[in-house]
């Protein structure tokens, strides 16, 4: 075992660190002017789309460099590398792998520049965990596809210019994974209606999207007809072991510790309560396990071994922590944990709000039960249910 960086890796880490020294002010200094300069500077460095090939405008960075970059950024709470979240996470990688030359030229630079948002139209009312059962109808008429049906839970649909959409082009298929096609759709196409859905913390981040005779040019198809499942799954699977997300959890735990130190109930600080101490230590230990699991997966990737379903391990830990830390904070707070705002609420109800946000992580990216199925079936080799 060896946790040292190589000479080149250390040099790259220092390059990142000195870039951040120069370009990244502390909290107060992060004004809109800063944000504009920051965006320009990271684009110039080719750190947006860092792992993408250089010929499409990416950075051509290796796995280890990518980890170093994200790690340094996360440590300093730097703003995200690029603003087109879903474009960078999976739409771009899908286009790079399956897109035509025209599609690459048309979409990739805009994703890197964060010109507009992409949203993801996969889930339907009757197809969630069982995504491949999707039914959104799509028929070809000449040079156009005609789409009729409904998507749901589409995050930021109301603020997006484009959507990556999965539709069913064939219904008589042997396997439900066949007959699915992937389309790149302009959200202002006639026949699309977006209806925001209010979530339990009161915000509206996702929406229902209705398609009524929506005409999409055939050239907006990504990959072949019927290949939609592979097109989208391979991009989701290219997900890297994300060690960086650990920093967010570590920060959250530090906040919970501060909360415990500063919350006095019954004449004593909650940080002296043995039950609370144990649970904080347990959470911290779990995050460390995530970090180290991530390093072991990374080692496998560096050796060129495929990263199987191991990331499901950390997804389960993360789900536990996202829910657990919110609940822990509320228990520390006691009666005031019931308040969502106002003077009596700790930090204006920030913890109460935090404790309602876990579904974004816990449900949005494949539920815990689905992760358990993946581990049981793909790693332990148990029969499919």
């Amino acid at each position: 075992m060896d946790f040292q960086l190589s000479e080149e890796e250390e040099a790259f880490r220092q390059e990142v660190a000195s870039f951040l020294d120069e370009h990244l002010p502390e909290g107060q200094g992060r004004t809109p002017e800063f944000q504009a300069k920051w965006t320009e500077a990271i684009r110039e460095k080719r750190w947006v789309g860092f792992s993408w090939p250089e010929d499409v405008g990416g950075g051509g960075g290796g796995i280890m460099e990518q980890v170093i970059l994200k790690d340094e950024m996360a440590k300093r709470k730097a703003p995200a590398l690029g603003s087109c979240f879903m474009g960078l996470a999976w739409v771009g990688p899908s286009i790079i792998q399956y897109g035509t030359e025209e599609q690459k030229q048309k979409y990739i630079p805009d994703i890197l520049d964060g010109k507009y948002q992409w949203c993801t139209g996969y889930s339907e009312p009757d197809s969630g965990s069982d995504l491949a059962s999707l039914k959104c109808k799509c028929e070809r008429e000449g040079d156009e596809y005609v789409v009729n049906g409904q998507k749901i839970w589409t995050s930021i649909a109301m603020w997006s210019k484009m959507m990556i959409l999965l539709v069913r082009t064939e219904t008589e298929v042997k396997s439900k994974h066949d007959g699915i096609t992937c389309l790149l759709v302009e959200m202002d196409t006639p026949g699309i209606e977006v209806r925001p859905i209010k979530n339990m913390s009161g915000g509206a981040m996702f929406a229902e999207v209705f398609f009524d005779d929506v005409r999409v040019p055939v050239e907006n198809r990504l990959g072949d007809e019927g290949q939609g499942w592979q097109v989208t799954i391979s991009a989701l699977a290219s997900e890297r072991s994300s060690i960086a997300e650990v920093h967010g959890l570590i920060r959250k735990i530090e906040e919970v510790k501060d909360l415990a130190r500063n919350t006095i109930r019954g004449g004593r600080a909650m940080s002296d309560d043995p039950g609370i101490r144990r649970r904080i230590a347990q959470a911290e230990t779990k995050v460390e396990a995530m970090r180290l699991n991530g390093m072991r997966f990374l080692t496998k990737q560096l050796k060129g071994e495929p990263l199987g379903s191991e990331t499901s391990i950390n997804k389960l830990h993360r789900a536990d922590l996202e829910i657990g830390l919110g609940e822990l904070a509320l228990e520390i707070l006691g009666s005031s944990s019931t308040l969502m705002g106002g003077e009596e609420a700790e930090k204006g109800g920030a913890w109460a709000k935090f404790s309602l946000n876990w579904p974004e992580v816990v449900i949005g990216g494949g539920t815990p039960n689905i992760q358990r199925n993946i581990i049981a079936e793909r790693i332990l080799g148990l029969p499919k249910d």
Binding site: R278, A281, K286, T299, N373
Partner: protein, 377 residues
């Protein structure tokens, strides 16, 4: 960056596994520990393992060891854990490490060669009646008498107590809590006697060492008299790490056994492993085992490097394991149904191992409290 093993280490793993599969399958382990005259070890196998260099793997080359790091020993321990191999390996390594790290050159030359070549068994004795891991728990007294010490007291829950030829004993040299010393007590010392208890896990031997005015020379004291508490803490940390390393192998084997059972057992016309009530707990066990595996790999590496966070790393690993391993073994028995309750099926052996692992060198409460303290809580 490489959070994995070298090719040599992987070869060693394969070699140890083959050796244990051939010479100590669970049927043989049962024979060894269910022997008429009480649970024992297999001296012939122990001698061969020593010959192969696995006993002295981490001991200094100058004194007959192989001179490799703890990380390499970890590979061997994962395998002895998988096989529930009954041997005084961890105890002997702890004794040797104490002598190597805190003893003089002379003391090393006197004791380590016998430990490295397998002719002598060593162990480390800390715990007493108070059953606490703090320095105040040590009441066994070392009274100076010329160039000798007169030892009196009782050390409990000593691994391999009866088998040990030499025991590194934590004793009290003064009245302030941390005023402790480490003393080597040889088996034939007058006034020293050892006996094994009736352990639940027959593959682990636990006993006591009674010291009744036992006299040892001051040349048996490791390091400075009365100033050994930091050394003792380090040994307790190492013990926790080694026990957890072995637990990784054992927990993994228990998961494999239960998974195979779930594939073979048919109820309601289905393999029971198809039911989520069966497969999801198994997935959760996998998550836990992989996680304390990562934690203990790092802890062992940190001990090898004398890293600043070694103590924290050990506590995280042992705490996680001390909760998760027993829970997973209980689930393993439960998922077997009635046969899980039988003496005949092997899963019960792993449940007993888990119950041995839990308190050894500190349970989850102890170690999570240390994580809290070291994390400024």
């Amino acid at each position: 960056m490489n959070f994995g093993f070298t090719e040599e280490q992987e070869l060693l793993r394969a070699e140890v596994r083959k050796f244990l599969d051939q010479n100590a399958p669970l049927e043989r382990v049962r024979e060894i520990v269910e022997a008429e005259d009480g649970p024992g070890n297999d001296p012939a196998l122990w001698a061969r393992m020593a010959e192969l260099g696995w006993v002295g793997l981490n001991m200094p080359e100058a004194h007959g060891g192989v001179g490799l790091d703890l990380e390499t020993l970890l590979v061997v321990l994962e395998e002895t854990g998988r096989s529930l191999f009954p041997s005084p390996l961890i105890s002997t390594v702890l004794a040797a490490k104490a002598i190597e790290r805190f003893g003089s050159e002379e003391q090393q030359a006197r004791w380590i060669p016998g430990l490295a070549d397998g002719s002598k068994v060593g162990t480390f004795a800390f715990m007493e009646r108070s059953d606490t891991l703090g320095p105040e728990g040590v009441e066994t007294l070392a009274k100076p008498d010329g160039d000798e010490l007169i030892l009196s007291g009782e050390k409990l829950f000593v691994s391999d107590a009866a088998a040990a030829d030499l025991t590194v004993v934590a004793v009290r040299s003064g009245s302030d809590a941390p005023s402790l010393s480490l003393v080597v007590v040889e088996k034939d010392t007058a006034g020293a006697s050892a006996a094994d208890f009736e352990a639940m896990d027959l593959t682990k031997r636990i006993g006591k060492l009674t010291l009744e005015d036992a006299r040892v020379g001051t040349d048996c004291v490791l390091g400075e008299q009365g100033a050994a508490w930091p050394s003792i803490q380090w040994l307790l940390d190492l013990g926790a790490a080694l026990v957890t390393a072995e637990a990784v192998g054992a927990a993994e084997a228990a998961l494999e056994i239960t998974t195979e059972f779930a594939k073979g057992r048919i109820q309601f016309d289905e393999q029971i492993g198809k039911f989520q009530g069966v497969k999801h707990p198994l997935a959760d066990i996998y998550v836990d085992v992989e996680s304390f595996r990562s934690l203990v790999y790092y802890a062992i590496w940190a001990l090898d490097q004398d890293a600043d966070d070694a103590r924290l790393a050990v506590s995280r690993a042992k705490a996680y394991c001390a909760d998760a391993f027993p829970q997973s073994a209980i689930m393993g028995v439960q998922l077997h149904g009635g046969v899980g309750y039988t003496w005949e099926y092997d899963i019960q052996l792993y449940l007993k191992r888990a119950k041995w692992v839990r308190p050894m060198f500190g349970d989850a409460d102890h170690h999570y409290e240390r994580v809290a303290l070291l994390g400024d809580l």
